[in-house]
């Protein structure tokens, strides 16, 4: 009995453990800052060629490593490419990888988590064991093996990151399902003879949907950070992709004579991640308010 309880308690707490409780106590921005940052980044991703026309991989040996100026607001990189243009054009691959990775992890993770939470017993045991092993497999290793099979690409990056997050979505979804199941109205539905799928559809899914949306939003930010770590150790998108993690990794070589190559990509990643965290929290606060 003790064991059963402990696992339940642990997982119940994990729900919160996985959700960074980011808060900023500024009156207006708390509500809108996150949404505004995310909106701007999304616009960059959609309309990069209109915002900064030109080819982001155009090489120009003569204008190499130039400091920020009116002509090049973020300076130029080691290949003489305009860093501002690359940052703007990089929004699409960067957001793309993060969003698709979250989708890839969330769908199977949540589905399996709900199944485990709903059915319990052997299925729950089996899935939980599998997911524990899954967590133990370092994400870096997964990315490395995938890259060795398929080469470095945005798709591999997305796959490696997405597959690595399945256990996290699984654990949260499972714990939330357990929580909902034990709620009185669900027990009432069960005692009235409603079948299992019906309960899931009508009661569990709507109730965990909100916390899952919050988790997904926050995870997009976290995927941006994970991408940059993978790029840093050479597993990112192949050149000449302007994906942000790659920009940061490239900039590092010249960080001592060209500070802008580290700072601008680093700041845009930090700002976007921050934006997604804030958005996630304002969504949650909104729900809590309702």
């Amino acid at each position: 009995m003790a064991a059963r309880l402990s696992i339940r308690t642990l997982n119940g707490n994990l729900t919160r453990a996985h959700l960074p409780d980011v808060q900023v106590h500024l009156a207006l921005p708390k509500r809108f800052l996150g949404a505004a940052i995310v909106l701007v980044v999304c616009l960059m991703a959609l309309f990069a060629p209109q915002i900064v026309p030109g080819d982001p991989s155009q090489i120009d040996a003569r204008s190499r490593l130039q400091a920020p100026s009116l002509e090049h607001p973020f300076g130029t990189d080691a290949f003489g490419r305009d860093l501002f243009r690359r940052v703007v054009h990089g929004a699409q691959p960067s957001l793309g990888v993060s969003v698709f990775a979250v989708a890839l992890g969330a769908f199977p993770g949540i589905l399996l988590g709900m199944m485990a939470g709903r059915r319990g017993r052997w299925l729950d045991h089996l899935l939980t064991q599998v997911m524990d092993a899954w967590i133990a497999l370092p994400g870096v290793l997964l990315a490395l093996l995938l890259a060795a099979v398929m080469g470095r690409s945005l798709v591999v990056l997305t796959l490696a990151l997405g597959v690595g997050t399945i256990p996290m979505f699984y654990r949260v979804a499972r714990a939330e399902t357990l929580r909902i199941r034990s709620a009185l109205y669900v027990e009432a539905a069960v005692s009235l003879g409603a079948d299992s799928w019906r309960i899931t559809r009508a009661h569990v899914l709507p109730n965990i949907a909100s916390s899952m949306i919050v988790l997904c939003t926050v995870m997009v930010g976290r995927m941006l950070l994970a991408t940059s770590a993978l790029s840093f150790i050479g597993l990112g998108a192949p050149p000449p992709s302007p994906e942000w993690g790659g920009l940061l990794a490239e900039g590092r070589t010249h960080m001592h004579e060209a500070w802008w190559l580290m700072w601008f990509p680093g700041l845009i990643i930090a700002l976007t991640t921050f934006g997604f965290y804030l958005l996630g929290n304002s969504v949650r606060d909104q729900q809590a308010g309702e």
Partner: protein, 513 residues
């Protein structure tokens, strides 16, 4: 909550204090940072390109190769080649002893190479040594090598540290563990080794200054040499700047520029014997056509490649051999496909490739530093003429497999060898599927390269390789880019340091107090 704040302050103070109480002690020790850890210090069973620069601290070779490529006496004071080119006799310098006091004599030489023939399958010079049918001891200080067929490459193979002379008693005593307990006749002996972390060397007290390229007649003047490993260029630079190291290796110029004009450091350059180049998959369109391959040669701006990929550290090369390898011939530059993007675009258009009729190809390369930068430049240059290249960066091992399978169009790679025979290894028909990954076979070239292997007369050999290079330039299965240069940054606290083929010579080194 006052307590909490007090604890917080105390912790912060503690952290800062640990920081303040730290200043590196200056002593008579030298710390060197290298890029790879050696796997073993048994010269005959190491596969690791990181080992040679360290093996040279422990072992001596019969002959050595000067920076200009000449082969000069080392342990062997002199050598004579028989008239039929089927025997070489080496006369050893007298009085050389191993660090345990045993004499370095003809027995040691015979033992060394017989052992290499028995266990040395993993050695890079195995095939050259297998060409010797017998090692004959003539007297205590002379040995004759009997060859199966004349070989122009044996002597240069013997200059590699892999041909270091071993101490028979020490090898037999250590058995399997010899790679971790090496004994040689060089200026240093291994003191301790924490695998994957640090190696320390101390001077060999019996070293008598027998190395002809150094002046020292006594053991080295430093107390200890510590060798640490780091794969990260900027970490190596930081360690130097933080006074945690005295010597560090760099493969590209971006970090080295931090030391230019510094009063505390100087930069030593070793040209090495490597070449970075593009290889084509000549087995499939569009690069099955020599004219198209030559056009790519005209399209690539090698000066830009050198500047952007290696920060200008290196030398642009036109022919298939870099200036440091025997056979390099600047007269051949005229027949190379030199930078001319208009001509290239015109040729490609004749063959149906233009921005209006683009083709898609794949560029394959490994994670070796600078290679993906080269790929980035090439990709941009190709895009301008209607060749859309996808860059495939894989790890080292996967690149080999995929290249051998022919699943690529352009391969960005390098070789590192000390003899023009490298052309046979990379372009000889017999090496297809092994080191020849370009599906290139040319019987005329094969014949020339095989002649080169057995030609003893240096002038004749030079002419043979000039002709071979002309053929390669014409057919363009590979396009040379540049010769990389290894930069070694040395602290000015350390004087009397020089480089010999990337090995840091420390015999004459002294430390400022």
């Amino acid at each position: 909550m006052k307590t909490t704040r007090a604890i917080l302050l105390a912790v912060t103070a503690l952290v800062l204090l640990t920081g303040v109480l730290t200043t590196g002690a200056q002593d008579n020790n030298v710390t060197m940072i290298v890029t790879r850890d050696p796997v073993s210090l048994d010269p005959q069973s190491t596969l690791d390109p990181g080992a040679p620069i360290l093996l040279a601290y422990i072992y001596d070779t019969l002959v050595y190769q000067a920076e200009d490529g000449r082969i000069l006496p080392s342990l062997a004071e002199s050598w004579t080649v028989a008239d039929d080119n089927l025997a070489i006799t080496f006369d050893l310098a007298p009085g050389v002893v191993f660090s345990d006091g045993a004499p370095l004599n003809a027995d040691a030489v015979v033992y060394t190479f017989q052992r290499l023939q028995e266990i040395g399958q993993r050695s890079l010079i195995y095939s050259d040594i297998m060409n010797v049918s017998a090692f004959e001891k003539l007297d205590d200080l002379s040995v004759r090598f009997h060859l199966i067929q004349p070989s122009a490459t044996l002597l240069s193979a013997l200059t590699y540290p892999y041909a270091g002379i071993l101490n028979p008693a020490a090898v037999e005593a250590a058995g399997e563990a010899y790679g971790q307990q090496p004994v040689g006749s060089g200026p240093f002996v291994l003191d301790s080794w924490i695998p994957e972390n640090t190696l320390t060397f101390v001077p060999n007290p019996l070293y008598g200054g027998h190395r002809p390229w150094t002046e020292a007649q006594t053991p080295p003047a430093i107390d200890k040499l510590t060798v640490v490993f780091s794969t990260d260029e900027s970490a190596r630079a930081s360690a130097l700047l933080a006074n945690e190291a005295d010597i560090a290796y760099f493969a590209s110029g971006s970090q080295v520029s931090r030391f230019e004009g510094s009063a505390d450091f100087r930069i030593l350059e070793s040209p090495g014997r490597a070449l970075n180049f593009l290889g084509f998959n000549t087995g499939r369109a569009p690069f099955d056509n020599a004219a198209v391959r030559r056009a790519i040669g005209q399209l690539v701006n090698k000066d830009d490649v050198l500047l952007l990929a290696a920060d200008g550290v290196g030398e642009v090369v036109n022919g298939p051999l870099p200036p440091t390898i025997f056979g390099y011939n600047p007269e051949l530059d005229a027949s190379a496909a030199n930078y001319d993007p208009e001509a290239a675009a015109a040729t490609l258009a004749e063959h149906g490739i233009s921005p209006e009729h683009p083709v898609s190809i794949s560029i394959l390369t490994s994670t070796f530093p600078t290679f993906s930068a080269i790929a980035t430049i090439l990709q941009a240059e190709l895009a301008a003429v209607g060749i859309n290249a996808e860059i495939n960066v894989l790890d080292f091992s996967a690149v080999r497999e995929i290249a051998v399978a022919g699943d690529y169009d352009i391969l960005i790679t390098r070789y590192d060898w000390n003899d023009p025979d490298v052309l046979w290894r990379y372009l000889g028909t017999a090496n297809q599927g092994n080191t020849n990954r370009y599906f290139y076979g040319n019987p005329d070239l094969d014949a020339l390269l095989q002649q080169g292997q057995t030609a003893f007369d240096q002038d004749a050999r030079f002419d043979i390789y000039a002709e071979a290079q002309r053929m390669i330039l014409e057919d363009a299965p590979i396009i040379a880019l540049y010769m990389p240069v290894t930069d070694v940054v040395v602290s000015n606290r350390l004087q009397g340091v020089s480089l010999l083929h990337s090995h840091v010579v420390l015999e004459d080194a002294t430390l400022a107090p």
